[in-house]
């Protein structure tokens, strides 16, 4: 990766949700969804956040564009603070950063025609009527939908086409940065590959920067420049794509990679690192490593201290007290094929 300047800088971002209150309505119990997460995304790159259900990856995406208020931390977009900007200024920032949701069945208004849905995306550009129409047609074309689709309703479209509409709506605002929250998870593989190719082409043509949120390791490996792995609200490891998949250092990343189904290896799946034990509850988590309860390399210290994120190698961070490279029988080595 050539050193491009950062476009997005996330510092110590945290978010807790109150889940229980006392008689006076004061929260007594908190769910820690995102905890002190920091990372940087450079101009023109694809940074992926990968993690399992409930690890906080979608919340993270929403915090970044202030769809939900963060508790602590800061986000700098192109050097400007997202959290402290005025309403007016936030509007301008949001035109430059757009979010595409996972489910194209529920993220498009069923009562609006495709043309209207997409043209809504242009409202911050303050275009005239004719301009708006032209812009709508232009972005529909960019995502590979014919003009005639503008007059259709979402229910008339297939899942892949709807996701194209959702992408077109995001592009209509002429953004520089897209947060893609599981954009292909609801799609069949043959359609998924079409949408992934489309995202790749759009990135090249429009020099876009992506934050790609996904649970699908194969997709992440395909599309990313750099990858961050989340576990229960914590970013546990961040590295270059090839480094992360080839040489994972955090035990959770190693377990995750070893669990990817390997079709040609039927019967040899005993090499998988199995995670014993129950996952820690994200509700009022104790001050310890959140992965310790399932970790196969946990040491005493992991139960009493929170491991800080540290640079393990150039461009490779991990938060773990007991870092070790993957062994031959598990982890990353199997990913090299």
């Amino acid at each position: 990766m050539p050193e491009a300047p950062p476009l997005l800088e996330v510092h110590n971002l945290s978010k807790r949700f109150p889940i229980r209150r006392d008689i006076l309505g004061r929260p007594t119990s908190w769910l820690s969804a995102v905890d002190e997460v920091s990372f940087t995304i450079r101009h023109g790159e694809t940074f992926s956040i990968v993690g399992e259900t409930g690890c906080g990856k979608s919340t993270l995406g929403q915090l970044i564009i202030r769809l939900q208020p963060a508790d602590t931390g800061s986000v700098l977009f192109d050097g400007e603070a997202v959290f402290s900007s005025s309403r007016h200024h936030l509007g301008q920032l949001r035109q430059r950063m757009q979010l595409v949701f996972q489910d194209p069945f529920s993220s498009l208004n069923p009562r609006m025609k495709v043309g209207a849905i997409v043209s809504e995306g242009t409202h911050r550009l303050r275009l005239g009527r004719a301009e708006r129409r032209r812009r709508t047609q232009e972005v529909l074309e960019m995502v590979g939908l014919a003009h005639s689709y503008a007059a259709r309703y979402p229910h008339e479209l297939s899942g892949g086409q709807r996701q194209r509409v959702a992408i077109a709506r995001a592009l209509a605002a002429n953004p520089e940065f897209l947060i893609l929250d599981e954009p292909v998870s609801a799609l069949d593989v043959s359609i998924q590959s079409q949408v992934l190719n489309l995202l790749h082409d759009l990135q090249q043509e429009l020099t876009l920067t992506y934050l790609f949120i996904s649970h699908d390791l194969a997709v992440v490996r395909h599309i990313s420049d750099r990858v961050g792995v989340m576990y229960l609200g914590k970013l546990v490891e961040t590295a270059d794509r090839d480094e992360l998949f080839g040489n994972p250092l955090h035990p959770y990343t190693q377990a995750l990679l070893s669990a990817i189904p390997r079709p040609q290896a039927r019967g040899q799946h005993r090499d998988r690192i199995s995670l014993e034990g129950e996952a820690l509850s994200p509700i009022d988590p104790p001050r310890q490593c959140r992965f310790a309860s399932r970790c196969f390399r946990a040491i005493d210290r992991c139960w009493t201290e929170v491991p800080p994120t540290e640079l393990q190698k150039p461009e490779h961070d991990a938060a773990c007290f007991n870092i070790a490279p993957p062994t031959d029988s598990n982890g990353g080595s199997v990913m090299r094929e």
């Binding site: 399992e52 259900t53 297939s158 892949g160 069949d188 593989v189 043959s190 359609i191 998924q192 590959s193 079409q194 992934l196 190719n197 790749h200 649970h215 390791l217 194969a218 997709v219 490996r221 395909h222 599309i223 377990a255 995750l256 669990a259 990817i260 189904p261 390997r262 079709p263 040609q264 290896a265 039927r266 799946h269 998988r272 199995s274 995670l275 129950e278 996952a279």
Partner: protein, 331 residues
């Protein structure tokens, strides 16, 4: 390959459904067999007829409204010819099914202990105490910690992976000869998915159970299945050993599907940042192509593919193909 005798044989299985827009045929002439102790993978994209095939085997399709023809032979009995009362005795002890969504297929108002013992007591004359002991035993087998305490839990108290294990436990408690697992891991995280697949494979080895594993995920199927059948628009287009699926599939659809998957196939050629694409989309059931159903999306379609319907024919040992113009696979 498995030396086991054939346990399940589908002959020309066809399902017609009445819909508001007229009659459609989501499953059309499916013939397959599963040997004792074998895992057969059934793969295909949404709407190709995989789940309909499973429901037709179990005779769980609504009547009236649907018509199932052909034959479903379990050892020597044709299930389609059985009276409903006899069929009820087949479901459970002979064939059981795991559904995709564990949250919607467990009853939320009963404890999991109740749901397990109820299943047993519906089919066997056993006492409460023994049923309870067996329930604890099966929960232990599917890897649920503290099974005796878990018996008193309601489904909402369990995590997704645990619920799916409970579903599997319910499906297995009567020791069926055949397990139909419909996307058993699709709703689960990858670490849990790996555990569930190992569990299914373990149980197969221990009790010589057969499994029909339905999935849209070729990698999942490839990890545990011995043979694979690929469905497209209601038809089986290719069946082959799993090793052949990844090394030398012949049907253009199977090949395309394999190449679409990031990181699975070797993306030969020009630009490794682009994935293979199957042009077009799955045809609507009401508007199927005249002969080969894949022809409109097939890069190798020729005149014959538009005029004459290809049949599923044997091309090698254990390898059957429905195609007029099969292609060598360049890996």
């Amino acid at each position: 390959m498995t030396a086991g005798a054939t346990l399940l044989r589908l002959l020309d299985l066809t399902v017609d459904l009445a819909t508001e827009e007229g009659e459609v045929r989501p499953v059309d002439g499916v013939s397959l067999s599963v040997a004792a102790g074998e895992i057969l993978g059934l793969v295909g994209e949404s709407g190709c007829g995989k789940t309909m095939t499973a429901l037709a085997i179990m005779r769980l399709l609504p009547e009236p409204g649907s018509r199932t023809t052909g034959a479903v032979q379990l050892t020597d009995r044709d299930l389609l010819a059985l009276p409903e009362a006899d069929m009820r005795r087949v479901r459970g002890p002979s064939i059981s099914m795991i559904f995709q969504e564990p949250m919607t297929s467990l009853d939320p108002v009963f404890t999991i202990g109740h749901q397990l013992t109820e299943t047993m007591r519906a089919h066997h004359k056993i006492g409460r105490h023994e049923a309870r002991n067996r329930a604890i035993g099966i929960l232990e087998q599917v890897g649920i910690p503290n099974p005796a305490q878990r018996l008193n839990d309601y489904p909402h108290q369990l995590s997704g992976g645990m619920r799916q294990r409970v579903m599997i436990a319910i499906a297995l408690i009567l020791e069926p000869q055949l397990l139909i697992a419909d996307e058993p891991t699709t709703a689960l995280d990858v670490t849990i998915q790996a555990q569930i697949l190992e569990l299914i494979d373990d149980l197969r080895q221990r009790s010589n159970m057969s499994v029909l594993l339905i999935s849209h995920d070729l990698a999942v199927v490839g990890q545990v299945a011995e043979r694979v059948a690929v469905m497209y628009a209601g038809e089986v287009v290719e069946t082959m050993p799993t090793t052949t699926l990844f090394a030398a599939p012949r049907h253009p659809y199977t090949q395309g599907l394999l190449r679409c998957i990031p990181g699975l196939a070797h993306h030969t050629g020009e630009d490794e940042t682009r994935l293979h694409v199957i042009e077009g989309r799955v045809p609507e059931l009401r508007n199927l192509p005249p002969a080969c159903r894949f022809a409109p999306r097939c890069p190798y379609a020729k005149d014959r593919c538009w005029n004459e319907r290809p049949q599923l024919e044997k091309v090698a040992d254990e390898h059957h193909l429905r195609c007029w113009n099969p292609q060598p696979f360049h890996a």
